[in-house]
């Protein structure tokens, strides 16, 4: 029996024409599903779930995994009349050597009046087993609220847009239906150019073509091709959809000619005509979500949702993972598990998700989440309650779904166990044997490259020369010190060189200051030091007589001796008759340098 039931408002607006099977929790059916998969299946679907009185809707019965014993008996539903004979089809495929067949029966049903109908479960026999379909809902309208104006009947083709409502909330999905009407005398259409439906402030899904049907507009019969898209407003205000300007090439029968015998082979001749098709701009009033009574965990989900949650395992050690699985129904793309503030004692990983759409638009379906949570302490007794909040546009209110807390048994972590075992590998220790490896590390840590050993790094090898060079330098320095200490003449030689090095600039200064006495005193001192060092005599014993007594017998050049004597005489004369000018004093310095240099170079 087909029964009529009061119309139930669907969660997210008008639906496309596919069957809405009853949803059940995946977690509850995980076991039975495995069993069901091995049994023959029987599904009953309608090509549309909303029609107008007088239109035909096609009921399809599909059998997979087994051969039915003929067309099952259809339950009688008052107001729904079968029309015509049932059509039968068999589709067979061979996969990995195994043949699979799908048996289908199609029956036309014509509703006699408006209302909401429910086709009850249909029972069939498949290879000795009883199988049953799910109930099917059908909404029959007295008239089409989106009917095209009657003056469109004179067009070969036109486009219309139907919106289920004009007042929506931000984030609420709106299924827009564009209908392409093709008049019945059009043999064929080609080059269909329909731009996508766009609107500022809307996101849109791809177009899905629905099941074609026939509809009368005025005096003409049209074939209607529905094109559906899901639009979601992302901001509030008066938002515009469209306009759309497109075209289609309609192939109309060429009129006023004799019937061509070849028409039966190649089809009647047609004339192509390009027909412009357009939709005017539509306005949608988008309301903002209410700012009052917003639940704390609300993360923007708009629609109608249900939630099922499983948690497992519930007897774990610290650091072991627990999987939380969620399934929900509604606007799926934006659906996400909100942050659970009460789970602060758990380390959580980003959840993975999977969507199982129940329609081609993806507006309705089930989204499965799996989230790994890791208890961080053995004191935890439960996984706190999970809450999910959403805005129900039908109720115009926020709703919160709650999964109660799940009791847990958390043991101390496995890393506390001493991890060595008793295999003989030369280790002197014998700690208690471990039962498992230490768990994985949570953090990547510092990224580092495996560098070559230090011995292969040139900078390290170069660095090792530092102490060696330091020691060698100290050694050389020490040798020089000792050499000096063991050679008094060398020491005196260096001392005298230092005295002369210091004395010459002093002479220049004295000459500049015209200090004659001091000048000649310094000259005499320098001569004494140099001659004393060269002759290995005390400096104080050096006088002018040295020239004749020591130097002349040693074959010192006469020029040097002459200059040397002159210097000594000038020093003596200076005591009695000082030279006054600085220039004269300064002129003596080069002579002194020459004499001193000559004495150093002469081997005495």
């Amino acid at each position: 029996m087909l029964t009529q039931q009061p119309y139930l408002k669907m969660p997210t607006g008008p639906k496309p024409w596919s069957l809405r099977s009853i949803l059940f929790w995946l977690t509850l059916l995980a076991g039975p599903l495995a069993i069901i998969a091995a049994q023959p299946t029987f599904t009953a679907t309608l090509d549309r779930d909303s029609v107008v009185v007088g239109e035909t809707v096609v009921l399809t019965l599909k059998f997979e995994g087994g051969s039915p014993q003929g067309m099952p008996a259809l339950p009688q539903v008052p107001g729904l009349q079968p029309a015509g004979q049932a059509a039968t089809s068999i589709n067979s495929t061979v996969v990995n050597g195994a043949m699979t067949s799908v048996f289908s029966y199609s029956v036309n049903l014509v509703p006699q009046h408006a209302g909401d109908f429910v086709i009850p479960p249909i029972t069939a026999q498949v290879e000795g087993q009883n199988v049953q379909s799910l109930p099917i809902k059908l909404k029959v309208l007295q008239s089409d609220p989106a009917a095209a104006p009657e003056d469109s009947a004179n067009k070969l083709a036109f486009l219309s847009l139907s919106l289920p409502k004009r007042d929506v909330f931000v984030g609420e999905v709106l299924v827009a239906e564009m209908r392409l009407y093709i008049r019945s005398d059009v043999r064929n259409i080609s080059d269909v150019q329909i731009p996508p439906l766009r609107g500022d402030g809307f996101t849109a899904s791809k177009f899905i073509e629905g099941g074609r049907f026939n509809r009368r507009v005025g005096a003409a019969q049209f074939t209607v091709i529905p094109l559906l898209t899901a639009m979601t407003p992302v901001k509030s205000g008066e938002l515009a959809l469209g306009p759309i300007n497109g075209s289609v090439v309609a192939h109309v029968s060429a009129g006023g000619r004799r019937l061509d015998p070849f028409d039966s082979f190649f089809g009647p001749q047609t004339q192509p005509q390009q027909v412009p098709i357009a939709i005017e701009q539509q306005t949608v009033h988008v309301l903002p979500l209410p700012a009052e009574n917003v639940p704390p965990g609300f993360n923007g989900a708009v629609g109608s949702y249900t939630m099922a949650c499983t948690v497992g395992p519930t007897n774990v050690a610290v650091g072991d993972p627990i999987t939380v699985k969620l399934s929900g129904k509604g606007n799926l793309d934006a659906l996400a598990i909100p942050e659970q503030a009460d789970w602060r004692d758990f380390k959580t990983y980003p959840p993975t998700s999977r969507i199982e759409p129940h329609d081609q638009l993806g507006v309705e379906g089930t989204k499965y989440f799996e989230q790994i949570v890791i208890p961080q302490s053995a004191d935890l007794k439960e996984l706190p309650a999970l809450s999910f909040s959403y805005f129900d546009p039908a109720q115009k209110a926020y709703r919160t779904l709650r999964q109660p807390a799940v009791p847990l048994v958390v043991r101390p972590g496995g890393s506390a166990v001493a991890p060595t075992v008793a295999a003989s590998r030369g280790s002197p220790e014998a700690p208690p044997p471990s039962q498992d490896i230490v768990p994985i590390k949570q953090r990547l840590g510092i990224v580092a490259q495996i560098a070559p050993p230090l011995l292969r790094q040139p900078w390290f090898l170069a660095l090792q020369s530092v102490p060696v060079l330091a020691w060698l330098s100290a050694l050389v320095w020490r040798r020089r010190i000792e050499q000096l200490a063991n050679n008094p003449r060398l020491r005196r030689q260096r001392l005298v060189a230092h005295i002369i090095h210091e004395g010459l600039p002093q002479l220049r200064r004295l000459a500049a200051e015209n200090k004659s006495d001091e000048f000649f005193g310094t000259v005499f001192h320098l001569l004494q030091e140099q001659l004393g060092e060269r002759l290995n005599l005390p400096a104080s014993a050096i006088t002018e007589a040295i020239v004749d007594d020591y130097l002349r017998p040693r074959a010192v050049p006469e020029a040097t001796l002459a200059e040397l004597q002159e210097l000594f005489q000038n020093c003596n004369l200076a005591r009695y008759a000082p030279i006054k000018s600085s220039q004269e004093l300064a002129a003596m310095i080069p002579k002194l340098e020459t004499v001193l240099g000559s004495l150093r170079e002469t081997d005495l």
Partner: protein
């Protein structure tokens, strides 16, 4: 410790030098690397998808990431997948970066203890040498040589310190000699001895480098072998002086040096 302030300054400088050299052995590329892929791989591990987790860790390594935790987790994933040999190889790579990690040492020991059949067992002196890494031996020998040479330089500079420092010099000389010897031995042990890790469940070791050669013995997944020679696709291996044979190259992984 000599009372001379200069000596104290030198020794303190050497301490800083040793610390710097220790840090220079591991070149930090970045303090933080993209952790999301690492977390995703961990996610797979927790979900029980150990093979996929291992592939994810390998992909991170191929992309240039390298950290002790990454190799450690790869080892765990391989171990849980039943690939003892590959787990040991991953742990040994982690050991190069974090030789002192107690978790790593524990898991490596645990994995080795799961190995069945003949496997290479290090001698006592090899185990003792491996208590320190090659870089650590290098730093110790370098430090002792530095101290010795710097003390020698100090004695040259201040000969009067020669007598009080004589004992220290002798000790440092012996220490430098000993540590340098250990360094040479460690370097020789690491670089002259190549090892391979069996990754096949059961690998037949043959008497010759031919498929037709008779079986000598069988080694199992996770066994560590010393490589003696190589001919084409065959490796001559040994687990002990009584067991020498030839094994196909594709049945082992070469252990990191």
């Amino acid at each position: 410790m000599p009372a001379c302030p200069l000596v104290r300054v030198v020794i303190q400088a050497l301490r800083w030098l040793a610390l710097f050299s220790l840090l220079a052995g591991v070149l930090p590329v970045r303090a933080e690397a993209p952790a999301s892929a690492f977390d995703a791989a961990n996610n797979l591990f927790y979900a029980g998808k150990f093979a996929e987790a291992a592939s994810a860790y390998e992909a991170l390594i191929q992309s240039g990431q390298s950290s002790p935790a990454l190799f450690f987790n790869l080892g765990n994933a391989r171990f849980k997948s039943g690939q003892i040999g590959r787990a040991i190889a991953a742990y040994r790579r982690a050991e190069q970066l974090a030789p002192r990690d107690p978790d790593l040492r524990a898991n490596l020991r645990f994995a080795r203890n799961q190995t069945q059949g003949p496997t290479l067992i290090s001698s006592r002196w090899q185990q003792w040498l491996r208590e320190l890494t090659l870089n650590e031996w290098t730093l110790l020998a370098s430090l002792s040589l530095w101290l010795w040479f710097l003390l020698l330089a100090l004695v040259q500079w201040r000969p009067e310190l020669g007598r009080p420092l004589r004992g220290y010099l002798a000790v440092l000389a012996i220490a430098a000699l000993f540590l340098s010897g250990c360094l040479v031995a460690a370097g020789y042990e690491r670089h002259s001895t190549r090892t391979a890790i069996v990754i096949a469940p059961d690998a037949a070791v043959r008497r010759g480098p031919l498929e037709e050669s008779a079986n000598a013995f069988t080694v199992h997944d996770g066994a560590e072998l010393q490589i003696l020679d190589q001919k084409g696709d065959w490796l001559q291996i040994s687990t002990d002086p009584q067991r020498i044979g030839w094994l196909r190259r594709d049945q082992v992984l070469l252990a990191p040096i």
